[in-house]
């Protein structure tokens, strides 16, 4: 009797376990269906871009459109470089990116260290001012900045697009400073006792610990500068100096119907930020979240 009851209970619990397994399987399946459905929405534009980039001009305007171009016109990518100085655009964008990343890394490190570690009268007020500047909309400073650079004779040079990076972007300073605050002060103090100067402490203790946030600074700056459109639009006139983003819009203006070449160019323009993001993904997603939630 007793064993009977145990057995039925056992069978029942086995059934619930099996039932639970099936339910979990169904819900996972449903989950994947939703994921794929949403994924298709996000991926289709990428797909359409790649497909168009590989089409010939006649396939471009075929009705109904071809879903898989055959033969794939890989020479479209070469033609982008022949029709506009796309190689030049890439070098220009690359140069701006490198200069800005160097500028932001140096300036944000120094400034964040000053705010995080050193005591001086007015520090809190100055830091609150720094945070307040995050709220000032960009369009207010756009015109006077342009006038300033015009008076300096810097229009149609890269200086307006580089020099500000060496004064640090408030958002990045804030991010690095918050990170530095989490580093125990004991490390600095021990180094001071050993006779290290402030710059040595920064260089040999703080910076190595801050590497994760430094990567974030570099990635943010890279993507922002590479993708920037309005800055180059306002400051650069000479097509030889155009960046990839500006060059693409210029290309569009000259060849309004060459969608296959425009898509090939757009695809090339997407590669650097997308590849960078793939490699920095874990750190980046975590970093963005931690800054926006905790910050």
């Amino acid at each position: 009797m007793e064993t009977d009851r145990t057995l039925t209970a056992l069978a029942a619990s086995r059934a619930t376990i099996r039932w639970g397994k099936i339910r979990r399987l169904i819900s996972a399946l449903g989950g994947y269906l939703v994921l794929i459905g949403v994924g298709v929405l996000f991926v289709t534009p990428f797909y359409w871009m790649i497909v168009t980039a590989l089409k010939s001009e006649s396939q471009l305007f075929a009705l109904p459109p071809t879903w898989i171009p055959a033969p794939a016109q890989f020479q479209n990518f070469a033609r982008v470089f022949q029709e506009v100085p796309f190689g030049r655009f890439i070098i220009n964008s690359g140069f701006l990116v490198v200069a800005n990343v160097i500028g932001e890394l140096i300036s944000t490190t120094l400034i964040a260290y000053g705010f995080a570690r050193l005591r001086f009268p007015g520090r809190n007020v100055l830091f609150l001012i720094l945070l307040a500047t995050l709220m000032i909309p960009g369009q207010i400073t756009l015109v006077p900045r342009f006038i300033l650079f015009a008076k300096l004779g810097w229009v149609n040079t890269y200086l307006p697009l580089i020099v500000p990076a060496f004064t640090g972007s408030p958002f990045l300073i804030f991010m690095v400073r918050q990170y530095m605050l989490t580093i125990p002060r004991d490390l600095d103090e021990a180094a001071t006792i050993d006779g290290a100067t402030r710059l040595q402490i920064l260089r040999y203790i703080i910076v190595p610990i801050c590497m994760p946030v430094m990567v974030l600074v570099a990635v943010f700056t890279f993507v922002n500068v590479w993708n920037d459109f309005m800055g180059p639009l306002i400051y650069l006139n000479d097509p030889e100096m155009f960046t990839v983003s500006l060059g693409l819009s210029f290309f569009r203006g000259t060849r309004d119907t060459s969608w296959h070449l425009l898509m090939a160019g757009s695809l090339l323009a997407m590669i650097p930020p997308v590849v960078l993001f793939f490699f920095a993904q874990r750190r980046l997603l975590g970093g963005i979240a931690s800054v926006s939630i905790k910050g």
């Binding site: 400034i111 000053g114 720094l130 500047t133 015109v143 006077p144 500000p164 060496f166 459109f229 695809l267």
Partner: protein
């Protein structure tokens, strides 16, 4: 969040020890790049913009003081101002609710605990890191009325799709689609918010017999309101500065149906070189955004839930 460091009470320079003085000097040296940047690229321009907004100036020659003329003209007799404001407001009213709902929905999808979810998260995020010019060009091609992908699909199910960017009634929806493609940016932040919600709340809800929808409604959503609040403010500031998508996709047309406020400022400053007028336009926009942001802040006690708050 630690905004303000714990700080010893302010001492005057004379009261400070020599080492404290040295530290303070070093501090000023370290932050000096920002101080220079703040004065030259921020405070100076803000002040200059304010003064310029009371002048007429085409960059060559000297600015001419005209008092409130720019503001009076903008507010009383400028049809372009009205049109650009209408477009920007209309688009914001369309974009903000839809992008918030889509951002939340995508974040919920991203938070599913399944194998390979990382790949999907990356996929959803990629459009956000793509150059806006590239995103705009793809969508301009997808929305091509005759050869575009969207109208082809619509034709397949028997609908003749609209002219999108060629029709003033649908052009804003085209801009909206470009914007929504980048919704992964806000979804990632919602996702972080979702992951910060303590598991015991869901366990308690389950014990009370709440199904998935009720858990979302009574646990996820209330716990996310601070994140939603933050995102609404950020998106609000961003959406009023919409520029690149409209500039490249439509140039403000057709019939000025996508003539965003930033396009107008750009035209005034860099096409007709009316620097004073453009500055006044910028200030009006800033004040409008500020007013709306304050309204959102004032509304927050009614819908934002902070756990640490005593009710």
């Amino acid at each position: 969040m630690q905004i303000v460091n714990r700080f010893s009470p302010l001492k005057s320079w004379q009261q400070m020890s020599p080492s404290a003085r040295r530290e303070a000097l070093a501090g000023y040296c370290f932050i000096s790049p920002w101080i220079v940047g703040f004065v030259v690229f921020m405070a100076g321009p803000v002040l200059a913009s304010f003064i310029l907004s009371f002048t007429a100036w085409n960059i060559v020659g000297d600015p001419r003081w005209i008092g409130l003329d720019n503001y009076v003209r903008i507010l009383t007799s400028d049809p372009d101002f009205i049109q650009s404001l209408k477009v920007t407001f209309g688009y914001s009213l369309l974009y903000l609710p839809i992008s918030t709902v889509c951002g939340l929905a995508v974040a919920m999808v991203m938070s599913l605990k399944l194998k390979g979810i990382g790949i999907f998260r990356t996929l959803f995020y990629l459009p956000y890191v793509s150059p806006s010019i590239a995103a705009t060009l793809v969508w301009a091609w997808i929305l091509n009325p005759r050869y575009g992908l969207l109208n082809t699909v619509l034709r397949f199910i028997g609908i003749e799709g609209p002219n999108w960017f060629g029709d003033p009634d649908t052009s804003l929806y085209g801009i909206l689609m470009i914007g929504l493609w980048g919704v992964g940016g806000s979804a990632v932040i919602y996702l972080a918010g979702i992951q910060n919600i303590p598991a015991h709340l869901y366990e308690a809800a389950q014990i009370d017999g709440a199904n998935a929808w009720r858990q979302f409604q009574h646990v996820t959503l209330p716990m996310l309101t601070p994140t939603i609040f933050y995102m609404v403010v950020m998106e609000l500031i961003g959406v009023f500065q919409t520029f690149t998508t409209a500039f490249v996709a439509t140039g403000g047309g057709p019939l000025r149906s996508t003539f965003f406020y930033m396009l107008y400022i750009y035209n005034k400053a860099w096409v007709s070189l009316q620097m004073g007028y453009a500055s006044a336009l910028a200030w009006i926009l800033a004040l409008i955004v500020l007013a709306i942001t304050l309204l959102v802040f004032r509304s927050s006690p009614y819908w934002v839930y902070y756990e640490s708050e005593q009710k």
